[in-house]
Subunit: 130 residues, 2 copies
Amino acid sequence: MSTRREAVRQALTDASGFRSAQDLYADLRSEGSKIGLTTVYRALQALSDSGEVDVLRTDDGEAVYRACDTESHHHHLVCRTCSTAVEIKGPTVEEWATEIGAEHGFTGVTHTVEVFGTCADCSLRAVQQT
Amino acid sequence: MSTRREAVRQALTDASGFRSAQDLYADLRSEGSKIGLTTVYRALQALSDSGEVDVLRTDDGEAVYRACDTESHHHHLVCRTCSTAVEIKGPTVEEWATEIGAEHGFTGVTHTVEVFGTCADCSLRAVQQT
DNA sequence: GCCATTTTTGACAACCATTTTCGTTTTCGT
DNA sequence: ACGAAAACGAAAATGGTTGTCAAAAATGGC
């Protein structure tokens, strides 16, 4: 594990939500790092290949990453304002997806599930019109 | 509704699965249409804005579209080989998502759910090693 | 410690889906 | 048929992401 890759992982861990490669690059540069954008992309690709970070796509096609607490299968509850994410586990959706697939004769069923909302803090802030 | 937009909608309807803008452009051109790529994008944007087609992002960030039977909220069971999609309805996931959001104090909860697998036909074809 | 080999890095160019621009064509109301 | 407004399409611009390649850093044998 190279120093640069570790730096990217740390930057991702420090931010407790989903961040894009460009975001992380900006974060690292503003901390004084001399890292290059290419390296950030390479580090993120390696980390996601090894399952150490989760990736998903925003509606406008940008890839965003998150360092997760667990490497096992899980989903996220993401705040659409501050992008903070809570990890969600539980058999309900998994069972539902498997069942739906089986009903239609599909094999090798997988699923992508993300839940979005406005977190308690951001909801409050919005109401207060700060 | 312009003729061009109708042509795009028809092309999407003919394909019973998710297709990218580039795919649809190729389909239409190969049918002899003189439509431009720009118009395909514009038509898809308009159709998705009006809720007549569903959009989702592939893992590599490309936007894919589908003409759906219903305009109400639903999900898809998509074949990862032939991209055919079955529409899924049912309260299970909706309830689950709302509940999860509420548990963590999130408001305005929405969700994205897609289920992938290999459909019965494609599974069979794979086994037969055609 | 020192040199050769391998790996990692980063500036820059290349890619490619998508959007914007803008002049032309078509549509539509009268 | 006439003029305004909308739709169209070719080409250029955009922007996130990936490929290239030479320089820099880590590694291993001596």
